[in-house]
């Protein structure tokens, strides 16, 4: 059930076709894990907190650095040197005090992925390292939970929604990390934020049942030229993870 204040806060989005009070109740009852809360994940968390998702689990190790502050909107200048997840927690709860929030000052790894994924309904993967993404992929496939897979580089973004058993998993597409990938990458906050808002919308669609998720399709975008493509994906019958 929604409380009176919740009805007032979410009134305008409950007017959206297919949402209504039932859709808002589904959002309130849902839980989402976000792997890393940097330029992409932080904005995903902010948008899901705004939409009234009931519980967020955030995983991101380390303290705020000056170089985070061109894109990581949950952080702030006064927080430099302090814990990212604790700063994010304060920002999110100030925005939505009804949010149930669990933060982990650690990145996703093979050691913790299964446990983190087991706590939620849906996962959003925003990690900068393929090792973290592959660990998360194995966990969601094993537990049969959907994962919104989103990423960016420079002016480019990509997004797909993985539905275990139905769509290609991450390892179907790339069983190993691309040789050219580097941990540090060129990034504008607006590019990361664009990808993040699309990812948050995927989560909202998965929870409410509105629209069509990007399942079995890869959205690629080049914001330098405003070129968007839909590409069709297929499962790899020889995939070590999902077959």
């Amino acid at each position: 059930m929604l409380e009176k204040l919740e009805r007032a806060v979410y009134e305008w989005q409950m007017w959206a076709d297919g949402v209504g009070e039932l859709g808002q109740q589904k959002l309130k009852a849902a839980s989402v894990l976000i792997s890393r809360i940097g330029g992409v994940g932080g904005t995903v968390a902010y948008q899901l907190a705004a939409a009234g998702v009931g519980k967020l689990v955030l995983a991101h190790a380390g303290n705020i650095k000056p170089s985070d502050l061109n894109r990581q909107l949950l952080m702030n200048h006064d927080g430099i040197g302090q814990s990212r997840v604790e700063t994010a927690k304060a920002r999110l709860l100030a925005f939505n005090p009804r949010l149930r929030l669990e933060v982990h000052d650690e990145n996703v790894s093979e050691a913790n992925a299964m446990g983190l994924v087991s706590q939620v309904d849906i996962v959003v993967d925003c990690a900068p390292l393929f090792a973290e993404r592959f660990a998360m992929n194995r966990a969601i496939v094993q537990q049969g939970k959907p994962m919104v897979e989103c990423a960016m580089y420079e002016y480019e973004g990509s997004l797909t929604t993985i539905l275990p058993g139905t769509t290609a998993c991450l390892a179907c597409l790339s069983p190993s990390a691309p040789t050219a990938w580097r941990r540090e990458f060129p990034v504008f906050g607006a590019v990361a934020g664009t990808v993040a808002c699309l990812a948050a919308m995927e989560v909202i669609k998965l929870i409410t049942g509105v629209g069509e998720p990007m399942a079995g399709k890869l959205l690629t975008m080049d914001l330098a030229t405003m070129t968007f493509s839909h590409r069709k994906l297929h499962k790899n019958p020889n995939c070590d993870v999902c077959n």
Partner: protein, 92 residues
């Protein structure tokens, strides 16, 4: 027949160009096309596309007219086809 090979994302940076046009035989296989693109391209492109045994790296995604090419599905080229070589990205 003529096809277009587009380079996206990290592959585009290594190729130092957005695309190339190729005249290929109708029966050309994906492997033949990749080998040609790799050896006519830059050294970084070749290293990104091919492993030490000159096989296409598993981290390279190939799309034929925006449809992912997989080994279990037929690879049929038509005149004017667009092949895209790219990789996943991971920035968050």
């Amino acid at each position: 027949m003529k096809i277009r090979v587009r380079f996206d994302s990290q592959v585009r940076r290594l190729a130092a160009c957005k695309e190339v046009s190729l005249e290929v035989d109708e029966a050309a296989t994906l492997e033949q096309i990749i080998q040609r693109v790799a050896f006519e391209g830059t050294e970084p492109l070749r290293a990104a596309l091919l492993d030490n045994e000159r096989r296409l790296r598993t981290s390279i995604l190939v799309f034929l007219n925006n449809d992912l090419v997989t080994k279990d599905r037929p690879f049929v080229l038509h005149d004017g086809a667009e092949l895209t070589l790219t990789t996943l990205i991971s920035g968050g």
